[in-house]
């Protein structure tokens, strides 16, 4: 889901005050395509303490909407990850808190 500007169509994933593109302040919730293509990636080997490495960070072009996410279900090395790979949205468990509440995250996995 994204917040889409009702005037210019710019899409955002955060809470908005106004549109950075056209200054309109009315947004609607829209579905973002769940399939896309890897437009950029990196394999992060050094991160802040507590962040599991290595992981593949990427920008996925979902039918014209760019989404930042991890690539999952793929070996994190440059022989297994490639620009232009077709991927699809998938959910993963990020963790469980002390009350047993599960946090669900998302990533993209290669389309088999």
């Amino acid at each position: 889901m994204a917040n889409e500007c009702t005037r210019c169509g710019a899409r955002y994933f955060d809470r908005r005050n106004a549109c950075a593109s056209c200054e309109n302040d009315v947004f609607t919730k829209v579905d973002v395509a769940t399939r896309g293509e890897v437009r950029a990636f990196t394999i992060v080997s050094k991160a802040a303490p507590g962040v599991p490495v290595p992981f593949v960070a990427a920008v996925v072009d979902c039918d014209g909407t760019s989404v930042r996410a991890n690539l999952i279900d793929v070996e994190p090395d440059d022989r297994h990850v490639a620009l232009g790979t077709k991927v699809e949205l998938a959910t993963t468990t990020v963790g469980v808190d002390d009350d047993g509440v599960e946090a669900v995250g998302f990533g993209f996995r290669p389309v088999s």
Binding site: R39, A47, A69, L83
Partner: protein, 400 residues
């Protein structure tokens, strides 16, 4: 032309580790040497702009208390990695506006041993309870879970995206850019690291964020830089020696990033750099082909490639061919980062945007010693601070 502004004096400290000096020590060293270089004192300054990104926000006044409290307006500036250029631009604007005849810009950072920048993280509380917070409604830290916002990872993707669009990039190509800068650094005694590195060493070093290994990342270090700016009218009243060594600021531009489709997902460092470059060339009345040297913001090897294109040093999409032609080597047609760049000279954040101007001035004055680019007349200095801010300055040798 009335309204021109000039660099009268400029200085860069040794970049590296300065465990015995604090930020004010480094700032004082840079500022006093820049004043001495220009043959002036704090009493001649009408305005001060200073930046220290990791500091408490009153660095300019702390500096004044050590080198001269003359009561002039002091601006504390912060603009990520473009902080130094922003300090200089602030002084340039004051001089151009006619509010000041002379001003001092200073940038200092102590970063030796700072490690990975941009890796947030919050202290662990005793009990972990998920609750949505912040603008994205995240229940936990998202770095590493929803992509990455660390600097090496962001700039790695920026280089990869360029490769996806135009082709021709590879781990080896990016490493070769780093090989060039490390080779250049051997001639720079003020660089934090001045050792030549082979392609094998660079590619075999610790991987930080593919395709950037450690020597392909900017080096955290301590350092300071300062510049004295003077109006055209005031310069005419100064000595022949001062006029001869003065360097003309033919263009001074600062931009932020205009909205583009994906700029809030992966920072778009290209659009604002292209705009800054185009404005600078127009202001200066020169083109990329007139440049004798360029110091550009190679915070990562992947960034340098993209900026060849953004600064119009090559045809659109032609950065790989430009590099492979040998053009950006010091004996090439457009020498880029003959100082060694951020990867070897070092990147004390707030100092960087003045230190690159110092490097260009050094060549235009014919004072760059072993690494002098012969007969350098025009140079360009570029910085980018993620967020983003882009500073471009074009400098020209004095005709006096």
């Amino acid at each position: 032309m009335a309204g021109d502004v000039w660099i009268l004096g400029i200085h860069m400290t040794k970049f590296g580790k300065h465990p015995d000096k604090d930020t004010v020590d480094l700032g004082a060293e840079a500022a006093r040497n820049a004043l001495r270089d220009g043959g002036v004192t704090m009493r001649d300054m009408d305005v001060l702009a200073a930046g220290n990104l990791m500091g408490r926000g009153a660095f300019a006044q702390e500096l004044q208390k050590q080198i001269g409290q003359t009561g002039i307006p002091a601006y504390n500036v912060a603009n990520a990695c473009a902080t130094g250029a922003t300090a200089l631009r602030t002084v340039v604007m004051a001089v151009k506006a006619g509010e000041a005849e002379m001003g001092l810009a200073v940038g200092v950072e102590k970063l030796a041993g700072a490690g990975l920048l941009g890796a947030g993280g919050r202290p662990k509380s005793e009990k972990q309870q998920y609750a949505p917070s912040g603008r994205f409604g995240a229940v936990t830290d998202t770095d590493g879970r929803i992509g990455t916002t660390t600097m090496p990872g962001v700039f790695a993707q920026i280089g990869m995206e360029y490769g996806h669009r135009y082709g021709g990039t590879s781990f080896e190509l990016f490493a070769k850019i780093s090989e060039k800068n490390h080779a250049h650094s051997t001639l720079n005694p003020l660089a934090a690291y001045s050792k030549k590195m082979s392609l094998e060493q660079i590619m075999g070093d610790v991987m930080i964020a593919y395709p950037n290994t450690r020597p392909m990342c900017s080096a955290n270090c301590d350092g300071g830089a300062a510049a004295v700016v003077v109006s055209d009218a005031k310069l005419k009243t100064l000595s022949l020696e001062q006029r001869r060594r003065a360097v003309k600021i033919s263009a001074s531009v600062l931009t932020s990033d205009p909205y583009t489709e994906s700029c809030q997902v992966l920072p778009d460092v290209s659009t604002l750099t292209k705009r800054a470059a185009d404005q600078a060339y127009e202001q200066a009345g020169v083109g990329p082909g007139d440049l004798d040297l360029v110091e550009l913001h190679d915070c990562f090897a992947t960034a340098e490639l993209v900026h060849y294109d953004n600064l119009r040093l090559c045809e659109e999409g032609g950065a790989v061919d430009f590099f492979q032609s040998g053009a950006p080597w010091r004996d090439g047609t457009t020498p880029v980062n003959v100082s060694g760049g951020l990867q070897s000279k070092g990147h004390p954040i707030a100092a960087t945007g003045i230190a690159n101007i110092w490097e260009v001035c050094h060549h235009l004055r014919g004072e760059a010693g072993a690494r002098q680019i012969d007969d350098a007349k025009v140079g360009l200095a570029h910085v980018i601070g993620l967020g983003s801010a882009c500073g471009v300055h074009i400098l020209e040798k004095s005709a006096a």
